[in-house]
Amino acid sequence: MDLDKKTQILILDDEPIVCKRLKPALEKAGYGVETFTRSLEAMHRLTEKTFDLVITDLKMEGLDGMAFLTEVKRRTPDTEVIVITGFATMETARESYQKGVFDFIAKPFKLGEILDVVRKAEANRRQSQS
């Protein structure tokens, strides 16, 4: 399979177990996945590579998820961003949607739920590019 044709996903969550759960599930579903537990390292990677989808936690040490998604959208507006978080509020949800977040998923979530949203985001991205 041509790796370049795979939809490329960046996952950022400071909980290693979240990355550990998501990476194999998304790879099995045919996606190219890179995981990061530190936002600054993820940010650096964004300067080297364009991702189709970004899945990020909101509440993290250092650069938080809101700042991260703002930067993703500034650099590559076509990248769809999915927020996963342990604690959301209506205000953070509104702010995220205003910044162009595709969807907002609260923990706990099932892998199937994430896969569904990833597929919808992928379809949305294709539709907006066609």
Partner: protein, 292 residues
């Protein structure tokens, strides 16, 4: 997260809905509100109950309250996503209807007919729910009006976690009982949500068998405590003998939330008679969160 709220037309269900609204406000979960019509209701008619039936009225109240609390403009639940959908009017005849859904998150209103516990479990399975929330009578009972054993049947047979709400009280302390079974990441996150939303003190109770806590039990208690400590949640730890579990939970107040894990390998299931769960649910004065 997907939440299934199952209600009837009694006050405890209205209390439980308040908890669902609190949870949805802070998790932006997809929510299904379900009412089950009695077994006697016909399954092959447009609507199995009269619009004036108490259950239908209750269903409307629950929808209105949810939308009133969370459906304002800009909210993910705001009813502003319109689409045209085909519905079968009768065999061989369809009608296209304009349907309004939540802008970003779904609020589904469902009515089923049949035995309530069976239908609640079937709906949870169909929707892939992470949490079932239902109310039940307070104090030393844990019952529905009709049939009485719905809470026990749902807790005992659900594949996902279940929150039983006994009273309309704030949750000030969460007593999470940990024993020698697997603690899933999902259930840790569920407790995290509950503690954060209610700003509740979290007390981890390590259940020990025959006095001596094994190294693995201590380690698990410390690991779980560290997990919550790292997330800024205030945690207290203590050990309690498994045989005294019933006494421990009977000392709770109605402002506590008792949480315990009920996996297939749960020691509580192994050590106590088959009816242990029914007895514990009744003994407990507080609301109960059964984790899976």
């Amino acid at each position: 997260m997907k939440i299934l709220f199952a209600g009837d037309d009694h006050p405890y269900s209205a209390y439980a809905l308040k908890k669902v609204i609190e949870l949805a406000r802070n998790t932006l979960a997809d929510v299904t509100i379900l009412v089950v019509a009695p077994t006697s209701a016909s399954k092959d008619v447009d609507i199995p109950l009269s619009p004036n039936h108490a259950l239908i009225q209750a269903l409307h109240r629950y929808r209105q309250e949810f939308i009133h609390e969370l459906g304002e403009a800009g909210s993910p639940y705001a009813q502003e996503r319109f689409s045209y959908e085909w519905k079968m009017v009768k065999f061989g005849l369809w009608e296209e209807l304009k349907v309004c859904r939540g802008a970003r998150k779904d609020l589904k209103i469902r009515l089923r007919a049949g035995h309530p516990a069976n239908e609640i479990l079937a709906e949870a399975k169909k929707e892939g729910s992470d949490l079932i929330v239902l109310g039940c009578s307070k104090g030393s009972q844990c019952l529905w009006q009709d049939p009485a054993d719905v809470p026990q049947a749902v807790v005992g047979n659900a594949d996902c976690s279940v929150l039983l709400v006994k009273e309309d009280k704030p949750i000030k302390r969460i007593l999470a009982c940990i024993e020698d079974s697997t603690v899933s990441q999902e259930s840790l996150e569920m407790i995290n949500q509950m503690a954060t939303i209610h700003k509740a003190q979290l007390e981890l109770v390590g259940l020990t068998k025959d006095g001596a806590a094994k190294q693995v039990e201590y380690t698990r208690l410390i690991e779980v405590g560290d997990y919550y400590g790292d997330r800024g949640i205030s945690v207290k730890n203590r050990l309690a003998e498994m045989k005294e579990f019933e006494a421990v939970i009977s000392k709770e107040t109605d402002e506590d939330l008792l949480a315990f894990w009920m996996g297939k390998k749960s020691l509580l299931s192994v050590l106590f008679p088959k009816d242990w769960m029914d007895r514990f649910l009744s003994t407990c004065q507080s609301s109960v969160l059964v984790l899976r």
